[in-house]
């Protein structure tokens, strides 16, 4: 047993299961976050979507309880829960009053170790999985990100949890059980609990519940060689959805925080560059943002915007101009704002059991340790424009994968020409605005829709 930092505890069971806990005395609740390395990356060929089906099946009866009894038991404990599948991990999530955590863990042990996986439940679960695939078509903002990740990431990291219609339809109960047997195992699994809990009783209980869980063969989601591809997906929508990605560093890299800071300069608060340049100055869209995304093996810069088709190319050009313009410099006030934002969210995270249960598990998964608060604080304090620019030099904007969804395709304007393109478009917009304003000076009733901002 180790005591990591002030209120964080860690223990590894002989079978490999990692238990993490953070005690938070000022709250009455606790959150449970259970990561099992059985994500969609491990879906075998011909069975894409099996992890998602398993995650839905696994709570439909376990231990001594039927599906209904199990749900009732968790409901009576006030557990709000969610079972989901990411690329690497299957995640069991539950949140309730701290005093109910021991009883809830007993049930989670049944779910993970003794699920019934009854054949009769397969068909309804397949129905739900198929509807999940269809629902994506009604959610263009999600759809474009799924399509981007599918093309940008190497196999097997690029698999969408929803799987494919044909594979879901063809699934057998045998395949679901095989997936469970092969991938739901203690080595590589992380169970984290944050809230008003006592460490010693928690540890004793988890050893008792999970001590006999047999380890399985380890698995790694090893990325294959891959060349990302861009694409346009035609859809008759009001807006064009724009999603792009290019390589950055993973969380294990010394440059990680510089990358995070760079993306915060672009898309931290509302004074950040993308929001200011695309929305505030040019009114091109409602939603535009960038973020950093990481796996153990690779990190990426990603960006999104949704805008009406006639503004889509201009929107993309402005976004790309801002990515390229990072290397021209970052001023002290920008970095101070980034630091203020990161510091606030770090401190406010301490008020949320859910956020802490997630953060300690994520740290352990990527780094094999939980970063103390003071360490993160000092990294934030130490952020410097020069170091961030160093990162931008080492990982410049290149090899962009662009996926668009909407009426018409767009093109990436290259770095040498993008500033000129933006300036020319700005000039055209100004002239258009001047033309619109000139005749019939100040009409009583403004034209619907077509006004262009005169403010620059």
């Amino acid at each position: 047993m180790n005591r990591v930092g002030q209120q964080v505890y860690q223990h590894t069971l002989p079978n490999g299961l990692v238990l993490l806990a953070e005690r938070m005395d000022h709250v009455r609740s606790a959150a449970i976050n259970f990561l099992v390395p059985a994500g969609s990356a491990f879906d075998p060929p011909g069975k894409f979507g099996v992890a998602s089906v398993l995650a839905e099946m696994i709570t439909r009866g376990a231990g001594d309880r039927s599906s209904r009894e199990l749900t009732l038991a968790l409901d009576n404990l006030g557990v709000d829960r969610d079972e989901s599948v990411g690329a690497i991990n299957m995640r069991f999530w539950g949140s309730t009053l701290a005093r109910n955590v021991p009883a809830a863990l007993n049930i989670y042990a049944d779910i993970v170790l003794r699920p019934h996986l009854p054949e009769a439940e397969l068909e309804p679960v397949q129905e739900l999985a198929l509807q999940d695939i269809k629902a994506l078509e009604d959610a263009p903002q999600s759809k474009v990100m799924v399509e981007l990740r599918r093309r940008y990431y190497p196999s097997p990291l690029n698999k969408d949890r929803r799987g494919t219609e044909a594979d879901i339809k063809a699934l057998t109960i045998g395949a679901v059980k095989a997936q469970y047997k092969r991938f739901v195992r203690p080595n590589g699994a992380i169970l984290s609990v944050a809230g008003n809990i006592e460490w010693e009783p928690l540890k004793t209980q988890v050893e008792r519940l999970f001590g006999d869980w047999k380890p399985g063969k380890p698995t790694e989601a090893t990325p294959r060689r891959h060349k990302p591809t861009s694409a346009h997906i035609h859809k008759d929508t009001q807006q064009t959805q724009i999603a792009l990605a290019f390589p950055s560093v993973p969380v294990t890299d010394p440059d990680y925080y510089n990358a995070r800071a760079a993306v915060a300069v672009l898309s931290g608060g509302m004074s950040s560059r993308l929001f200011t340049e695309v929305r505030e100055k040019r009114s091109l869209c409602y939603s535009v943002y960038a973020f950093h995304e990481t796996f153990k093996t690779q990190g990426s810069m990603m960006a999104y915007a949704g805008t009406r088709a006639q503004f889509a190319q201009r929107t993309l050009d402005v976004m790309m101009r801002e990515f390229h313009r990072l290397k021209a410099g970052i001023d002290a006030d920008e970095i101070n704002r980034v630091k203020a934002g990161l510091k606030s969210s770090l401190i406010m995270q301490e008020e949320s059991t859910g956020a802490r249960a997630g953060a300690i598990a994520t740290d352990w998964y990527y780094l094999g340790r939980v970063r103390p608060f003071e360490e993160i604080q000092s990294v934030i304090d130490g952020l410097k424009p020069a170091a961030i620019l160093g990162y931008v030099e080492r990982y410049p904007v290149r090899d962009i994968t662009l996926v668009t969804l909407g009426p018409a395709p767009l093109t990436i304007t290259d770095g040498a020409r993008v500033t000129a393109a933006v300036e020319a478009a700005d000039k055209r917009a100004e002239e258009e605005a001047a033309r619109a304003a000139a005749p019939a000076a100040a009409p009583a009733k403004p034209k619907p829709v077509k006004r262009v901002s005169k403010r620059k």
Binding site: G78, D80, Q141, S283, N336, E351, R455
Partner: protein, 445 residues
Amino acid sequence: MPFHAHKLPNGLQLIGETSPSMKSVAVGFFVRTGSRDETPAESGVSHFLEHMMFKGTPRRSADAVNLDFDRIGASYNAYTSEENTVYYAALLPEYLPKGIEILADILRPSLRQGDFDGEKKVILEEIDMYEDQPGSVAWDRARRIYYDTHPLGNSVLGTKESVGALTREQMQAYFTRRYAANNIVVSVAGNFDWNEFVALISAACSGWNTDKVGRKNRTEWTNASGLHLLTRAKVQQEYVMFMCGGPPAHSKMRYAADTLALAVGDDSGSRLYWALVDPGHADSADCSYVENDGTGAVYVSITCEPGNTAGNIARATDVLRAVQKGGITEAELQQAKSKILSRVVRGSERPMGRMQAIASAWSYTGEYRDVDTELANFEAVTLKAVRAYLDAYPIDQNTVVAFGPLAKLKGARAQSDSKAEPKAKARSTSKPKAKPKEKVKAKRR
């Protein structure tokens, strides 16, 4: 937890709950105004104005608003519903004075013509964004049908036409009318000092105008108008909504209504879950009670394969009829209470949760309810109270709207989706509140 209240001479109401053990503080300005307070010619102005609040004041440019908030690491935003427009920030305690100074300043905006024209385009993008999300469109249409002439059916976003035609002068007039000090509650919760807070707000807001405020149409509304079908071919799933009346926000029956809605349609272990979702008939089936100023509503919402629509409407109808006739069991009541207890406690652990909860209770009832009082109110719900609620607000007397690719549905009145526009009449009676996830429009993302 110590509660405080204070009213400034101009009518601005201040309320606060101090929790010294929290690490941050949340502050919010709750303006009692929304789409239900708009005339047809102003449709969408509440939400558009909410955006304009971030576009600057005599002392600040639009850029300066964003810069100043970001310099203090504030987590800030705003949202508009049918009856509330809320501006809020979560802050580290040392930045509360600055946060209040910025919020108070932006609530007296310049509404400059150039900013107005630019932001109008952002709103039009936002309307198009929601137009591409069938679930959102379905709710807007369904609520209009259910509320008919009642202003609670007014769309928060408005239409491209109504927003396109809005003028700066209309917005200015609406602002003056609705943003008077006596129509606003300032709520604060978390780690802060009450006396300092009162001094800060007094200094920043004492000059705000007082006006004749209030709201027409606060009577209760219900409308069982049968089944409606709105067809939109390019949508993949069918979106089905059941709507009926419920107790108003100030009614003690709200606790029974909330508890029953959970038993009927929570996302796990509820009647609708077992009847529709567990067997795979529907992707989702939820029931929620929505409280509003003067009235309330209970919504059931289902998403499913278009081919399963008729079957799911029949299943949901059976569930609602059975509950109306026989109520729920003691076990279901206890199950729902366990969930509520857990959710109320967890929701209260962050300043933002408390700040919103006390503001909501105060706006609707003029009373303060601490966490334990709220829990006791739920704990006191009995099967008898549930029966009394159902007798007063039957949940099987609905308006049902199906929206999606389905071209025909037995027993339904078909309408073309394109402009299932309101018979945009003037206001008449009461109104509901926003469906939390579906209807509240946030400023960002």
